[in-house]
Structures are given as structure tokens and as C-alpha cells.
């Protein structure tokens, strides 16, 4: 007898636990809207960030090229003046110094351009990763929402099994049944074909 009472009670608990409060369902739906707003905002912000980074990169690349050209022009000008030097040793030393600085200028220019490219790529990558991540968070919420909104979680079970669409209604019906089920355990066992 106790076993069957427990079984009925367990059934009530399971089914009552399956029903999701409407407020939770509504919040779950709202969360999708919140995530849409957030995704749009992050997309706009990301595009703005990349646009600014691109402009800064272009501006800096222009500055670098300008400084490099100015420096090389100075060295070329200086090189023409070495002809005026009478001392061959001094002339040679000056030419070597000019070439050394020209090499350094080109090396530093190349390194700086590469640094700009690497930093810009890193900014773009991180920004795109954030957008992809947000999309995934939305997918998670869609799956959760699908389950939360699902009627199969509990209410359809009630409708199919006992013709009720709410837990309260079902509990009310069960309450009227329980006294009737308070027969001997052997009779119930016989009906259910289960040993007491």
C-alpha cells in the first residue's frame, strides 16, 4: 500500500516539477531579445574599432614612409658632398657611415611596418572572435529556450495522460482519486499485475 502511495506521490512530484512557471518562460524569451541587442551593439562597436585601427595604421604607414624618404634624401645629399673631401680616408669613412645609417633606416622601417601589420591583425582577430563567441551564446540560449518553452516538459504529458493542462488541475484530480485507491494492496497489485 505504502509503495503505491509513494508511486503516486512520486508521479505528482515529477509532473509538478516539469511545469515551468510562465515568468521563467517569458524571461527566457526576453533573454533572446537582450542577446540580439547585445550582438548588434558589439558588431557596431567592433566595426568602429577596426575602422579606427585601419585609419591609424594607414596614417602611421604614411608617416613611416615619409620619414624614411626624408632621411634617405638627406643621406643622398650628404653623399654628393663627399666628393669635396680631399682626404680619401675621411671620404671612405663618411661613405661607410652613410651606408650604415641607410641600412639601419631601411631595417627599422621594415620592422615598424611589420609591427603595425601584426598588431592590426591581432586587433581584427580578437574582435572577430568576440562576435563569433556572442553568436554561440545566442545559440546556447536558443537551445535552453526551446526546452523551457517546450510543452513536452510536463504540460503535454498532463494533457495526454489525464486531460489536464495545468499541474494544479491534475493535483486536484489526484486528490479525489487517492481515497479511492486506498483499497487493499493486493487488489491494486492484482489490477496492475504486480506482486505486493
Amino acid at each position: 500500500m505504502n509503495a503505491y502511495k509513494l508511486a503516486i506521490l512520486g508521479l505528482i512530484l515529477i509532473i509538478s516539477g516539469c511545469a515551468t512557471p510562465p515568468e521563467v518562460k517569458q524571461l527566457s524569451l526576453k533573454q533572446l531579445d537582450y542577446l540580439n541587442v547585445l550582438t548588434d551593439a558589439v558588431t557596431i562597436q567592433s566595426e568602429g574599432l577596426i575602422s579606427i585601427a585601419k585609419k591609424l595604421k594607414q596614417q602611421s604607414e604614411g608617416n613611416i614612409n615619409c620619414h624614411q624618404q626624408t632621411s634617405i634624401d638627406r643621406l643622398n645629399q650628404l653623399m654628393t658632398t663627399t666628393i669635396d673631401l680631399t682626404d680619401p680616408k675621411k671620404r671612405r669613412e663618411l661613405k661607410q657611415k652613410i651606408l650604415a645609417q641607410a641600412t639601419e633606416i631601411n631595417k627599422v622601417t621594415q620592422r615598424s611596418q611589420q609591427k603595425l601589420a601584426v598588431d592590426f591583425k591581432a586587433i581584427k582577430t580578437k574582435t572577430q572572435q568576440l562576435q563569433v563567441y556572442l553568436k554561440k551564446i545566442k545559440e546556447v540560449q536558443l537551445v535552453l529556450n526551446g526546452y523551457i518553452q517546450s510543452q513536452k516538459a510536463g504540460e503535454q504529458l498532463l494533457a495526454t495522460s489525464v486531460g489536464h493542462t495545468s499541474v494544479d488541475g491534475f493535483l486536484g484530480t489526484i486528490n479525489t482519486y487517492i481515497p479511492l485507491i486506498k483499497s487493499t494492496s493486493s487488489e491494486l497489485a492484482r489490477l496492475l499485475n504486480v506482486k505486493p
Binding site: 602611421s60 633606416i105 603595425l116 591581432a122 537551445v143 526546452y147 504529458l157
Partner: protein
């Protein structure tokens, strides 16, 4: 040293270099330009470093969690279907006994 101070420092060095005679004038002016080239190369470094502080965003684990949830939901749906059948039998038996 902030940006304004840096700019003033560069200008001061440039003015000083212009007071020198050749060839030192050329070499020193070029050193200032080399410094400016390096500064321009670092323009995006701060921004890049800031973004690098963001936690790694691994979407593979999220994909696995979504797949597991969908599978679990499907399994539960199957279990509920089976339960449905059992409940129908129980209901029939209870109604018949009453």
C-alpha cells in the same frame, strides 16, 4: 612621459640637431627620424595588448555542450513518450478499477 612631452622632446632634439654642421647635422636629424619611425610602428600596440587581455573564447566547448543538451532533450522526449504509454495503461487500469 606623455604624448605632449614626447613631442616637445622630439622638437627640442630636432632644433638642436639643426644647429650642428655637416655631416653630424644629417646623421642626428636622421636619428630623430628613426625614432619617429619606431614610434609610428608602435601606434597600435596598446590597443592590441588591451584586447589580448580578453579571456580565450573557446567555442568548441560550447558546441559540445549544445550537442549534449540537444541529445539529452531528445532522450528525455523519448523517455516521456514511453512514460506516456505507461501512464495511459495505468489510467485505463485505474479508471477500470473505479
Amino acid at each position: 612621459m606623455n604624448e605632449a612631452e614626447l613631442e616637445r622632446h622630439i622638437q627640442a632634439l630636432t632644433l638642436l640637431a639643426r644647429t650642428l654642421s655637416e655631416p653630424e647635422r644629417t646623421f642626428k636629424l636622421n636619428e630623430v627620424d628613426l625614432f619617429k619611425i619606431q614610434l609610428n610602428g608602435l601606434v597600435l600596440e596598446d590597443l592590441s595588448d588591451n584586447l589580448a587581455q580578453m579571456a580565450p573564447m573557446n567555442t568548441n566547448s560550447i558546441d559540445r555542450a549544445i550537442t549534449a543538451s540537444l541529445r539529452a532533450t531528445h532522450n528525455q522526449a523519448m523517455a516521456l513518450k514511453t512514460f506516456d504509454v505507461g501512464m495511459s495503461v495505468l489510467k485505463t487500469v485505474l479508471v477500470a478499477s473505479l
